[in-house]
Symmetry: C2
Subunit: 136 residues, 2 copies
Amino acid sequence: MNYSRQREEVQEQLSFHHDHPTADVIYSELREKDPTISLATVYRNLKLLAQNGTIRRLTFVSGADHFDSNIDPHYHFVCDCCGKVIDVPMQVAETLDDTASKYISGNITGHDLVFRGVCDECMTSGRSSVGSGDML
Amino acid sequence: MNYSRQREEVQEQLSFHHDHPTADVIYSELREKDPTISLATVYRNLKLLAQNGTIRRLTFVSGADHFDSNIDPHYHFVCDCCGKVIDVPMQVAETLDDTASKYISGNITGHDLVFRGVCDECMTSGRSSVGSGDML
DNA sequence: TTATGTGCAAATCATTTGCAAGATC
DNA sequence: GATCTTGCAAATGATTTGCACATAA
């Protein structure tokens, strides 16, 4: 893989995020620094970086994929109300994979654990109650 | 919510599946019984049924959402190679939610646990080795 | 007969791809 | 200079929506 300024920009921009932005968020932000970068380039590079393990693609929200610059195993919380994705800094349960492997015939390489519920903000801003159900 | 024949057909068709089909799989299958049902109707009804908790929407595969007629809490395995989703009949770890709630400020209602790896079929059919990485 | 649901086509959103031009090695 | 990468526009795939017609309550 050759060097490319755009790829470096994409990776850097993602690393600025504590949250887990979608491709088009990265794109919008980068356009301000580099007004000629294209959306296709952002998608291409996010894909490349995810494939070579430099970043992680999060696929557990309906709609657009999110990306995470933190590739160490860790868990997430997704708000059923606004779709926000945040980290859960609890310890990773390595034993789960062993347990699961007793029940399936394939080869397990790891697991994703995603907690669901209503985030702080949605809770206080009313949107909470019973949930909009919009994300289901 | 009024009764509708099409909604009943969608729900019934989904219940026939041990696997977890996407909307267009349900649509193709239903077209054979009911050649006039429309794709929009299938999408609309899957959405309604998921919102009222009759079925479950699985959002952890990139691309099309999958649907599950089994709404009891249970875990899944996703093949990184072919995208297939299968059940993992291991016991659900209720304590995880309590642990996670110590780390976040929102309200946790539950969790999804998804094991990843390479399924039996992909393993034997060669596609396995190192994985295509296509789904990343 | 009023509210709801359907079918169809067009619209929208997320993502990928073909291709000519530009950058890297 | 051969190969890889970009930007743009068009293509694709998943899902939703507007609207006139059909159906349920």
